[in-house]
Symmetry: D2
Subunit: 304 residues, 4 copies
């Protein structure tokens, strides 16, 4: 099936619509982004791809990076990582501390902040040079050596990231963080500061639509089972407490970031990345959600 | 692909395993069920089917009936029903009242008890003879006039169902129940008391694997979009606070009942129903979960 | 000390102030009350008393009756009643169901609705004719045979009291209600419907300021220890989630009702009852709180 | 009234009883304390005093110091401090983060950890040399220049105090901490590390039983109104989520610490301090609670 017409049509329609919501303001650097940016990059496992708008402009991928950190930890430690966190949706906002108290420091899943922080702790324990090794992994899966952290964003996040510091220390108080909270949270802020374009994100994570293998060199990044399971967690938990709505309206595994990006995967078909910085009340890109809903409806391309 | 060998192999393996957990005991009538029953019925949209064990014995389908009540209300009212409830997983047990308080009486989804009770209220408002009309719908989608309520089960449930009475009155106090709580809760207990065999369940809900159309007469029960959305809600919310685990391990939309049944749908491929009465701590069939995990893994047949 | 001048002065001051808030509207009959009513009745254990404004007009005492039901159950069963509920403030609104879920059906204290409902269940189990026997007790402690239920109020409450029905069934589901929820909730609505004037309330509960003995005939209603403990619970829990504020500003054990009444006790000194129907956001009489704060401050008559 | 016989009798009785519970273990230094220590110091505003057991041995007063920090802040800023926290009991454990989330960073009261941390932030903003100035205040109210912090305890607490660091950063994220979390939490750990004997504690806080005036020099530490209000908060919130139980059984304003100390005040009569390191499940001294319950019962000396 040739998706380009539908992609084009939906892009034009959503471009014209008024974007609701506002740019993430709690991280000072993010607040500076042009709210009118809008990019889409669609890439099929058969090699076809299609970009629209600002698809080649780098932006702060924020929580989309949590897919990468999960994949790296999962690849290295296998199912053992689930001793440290669950795979259930939380039913609460992304930075909530409430459940952690009743769950005794075990995060519900690797995509809420609490879980991603535990993944960072795991990676620090496993990697010799966590920041470099993580970047190497990102560069490897995307065949792109330009991918980097943004020191500005990481610093900016650190300057106001009290809630994440609270989360990290809270989990530590339950014994589910092994390293020092300072080290873990610094790595976490670095992780979230990665900058990539829509094209780069779609290329990097296309292996999740290909049974765990990279397209370019057929290298197995995750096993087929791990890949399916990663997609499953994206389906259940990828859009915070809007994951059910995303599953309902879009019907694809996805992961959002407060930079305004959304990555969605159609297993064995394609990866698609959206970028539009205005966020709805749940912290997800308003136009990104809208584009994907219209696209999967028109293309009849949900997994359900 | 011929699934029969894998089905047979997994059935034999799981049959031999010791079943953990216990039969639902809070409904007196359910506690009488033989805990060693084990049935599987697999039915593809191309007509092939395959049954194993006690697949022709009727059992209390309990919450699996919530798929039917949702479909009937969705068919009649369309997207309007979402004004009365959400599509998000709850992150809490199936009969929890906690979220309802902060959510002001709006249930998170139609599959937790609170949501199913609101669906019952909607159906009472729309149907002339709610009980008969619901049975007619069940009989129609399954081409089977023998499907009925169990008065015994409904009475038994009523005698101890104080928590559901509490839920219904609690929602009413927020104004999200229109009819009298007594009427709504009686209908709810009736709904949960429906008895069907694995074969009957797979046949009844096979339209969810067929874009909304019945196989026998090609009649459209739900639109394709409604069908996809129903499957999506099953994926997000079908197994209570184990929905994420089910998505992770099984990778199919599913719906469980405390009678020990689980229905799973592979869109555009098949419906499969399991029955084994011993439940895990989350209220889902232990062997049912186990069977589906092994089957979708061996058959590489998850949607992810 | 002669309190009459201060009482008069504070009464005049508060009378002139604009009353904030509104009359309880969720019970239709209560909504009909004249919001400008304002009465005070002060009665010392030495026999002196002092009334101002509408102090002889009967009003719906609502939750103030929970002091009577607690005293009657405490008198009959002693410390055994604490196996069924606690003595801790709840930190949540009066009709909250949240804590009951984590506390497995054991109410925090006898003054939140949940606890008062359990007290009603206890009384039904102990009394031959619960309604008559409760009235007899009320009449006995107040030397006043005119005290009665209001059928209108009880019916009105029943017509909209879904949340209390929910509470009662929820507690029953945990096994902490022995009788049928219908019977218990009917008795509870009756209890809350009692009508008394400020004068009658102060007279009835003056024994709590007198070591448990009635003034008129020196009859021991509660033991001295039970009396102190009842006052202590009023201090900790008598004004719902405003109990701390009341302790802070007024500094006396007290109990409020949504009819706009507040009873306060100064141990070994006096009982005082206020009535002003406009309620603040916590469900307590705005002018009642205000009067007591000014009075205990000017008279330097808190227990602290 | 001469309390010495009753004090002696109760002391002997409780001394012989087996102490339940265990020493606080989460602060390594506290775990080293001899669990069999038991001291009582009773001091009346008329000058009489009475000590029993280890009443002259210094111990870690921990949260009892929160009374001092509250008094100092209250003295300096007056009612303005209530813009930053409430006076309601929390209904939850002392270190809970749950309520802070729904209450948007405003602690329920100054005695739970969250509130005491905000008080520390206030004091840092008001004092030139917070640590020294706080010590000066402690030394002044107790006429005792030997009162000091324990560097060991403060360090020990810091080494494991992740939960308090979490609390502080969490509150900061809501904007209710003005200084850097590191500075605030260091001061908080210092505050909790103060060491005093039962005698010293009773002497220091006797002004709370004397309308705010020191006995030795009649100096007004707090106004009479502030004193009453401080006692009221101790009544409502002084023993964490056992405050209601303490009010019910003991009937005096009190404040406990995890070092095993409890201070209780009888307004216009006396201050009494207990020390026994074994704690019950709520974190309060088992024998301390027991002693006070027996004493106020036998002496008929509760405020109710």
């Amino acid at each position: 099936m040739d998706y380009s017409n539908i992609l084009q049509e939906v892009y034009e329609k959503v471009s014209k619509e008024e974007g609701r919501g506002g740019v993430a303001s709690y991280i000072p650097e993010l607040a500076k982004v042009d709210p009118l940016k809008f990019g889409v990059f669609f890439k099929e496992i058969n090699g076809r791809d299609f970009g629209m708008g600002d698809f080649d402009e780098k932006f702060s991928i924020q929580s989309i990076a949590k897919v990468a950190s999960l994949c790296l930890a999962y690849k290295m430690l296998g199912e053992k990582i689930w001793e440290r966190m669950g795979v259930e949706p939380s039913g609460t906002p992304f930075n909530s501390l409430v459940q952690l108290e009743s769950d005794r420091g075990v995060p519900r899943n690797p995509f809420i902040n609490a879980g991603a922080i535990v993944i960072c702790d795991i990676l620090i324990g496993e990697l010799n040079n966590p920041e470099e090794d993580l970047l190497s992994f990102m560069r490897e899966i995307s065949d792109n050596s330009s991918i980097s952290f943004s020191e500005n964003i990481a610093e900016s996040e650190k300057s106001t990231g009290y809630r994440n510091v609270a989360l990290c220390n809270f989990i530590k108080s339950f014994g589910n963080i092994e390293n020092s909270p300072e080290k873990v949270i610094d790595f976490y802020f670095k992780l979230c500061s990665i900058e990539m374009s829509c094209r780069e994100i779609s290329c990097a994570f296309l292996f999740l639509a290909n049974g765990g293998r990279k397209i370019s060199d057929n290298k197995q990044i995750l096993s087929e089972s791990q890949t399916k399971r990663t997609n499953a967690i994206m389906q259940s938990c990828g859009l915070y407490d809007e994951s059910g709505e995303f599953t309902f309206k879009v019907g694809l595994p996805g992961k959002s970031g407060v930079g305004g990006g959304i990555l969605a995967i159609h297993p064995y078909k394609y990866a698609v990345t959206l970028w539009s910085p205005k966020l709805n009340s749940k912290g997800n890109s308003y136009k990104g959600m809208r584009f994907l809903e219209l696209f999967t409806t028109k293309a009849r391309s949900s997994i359900f």
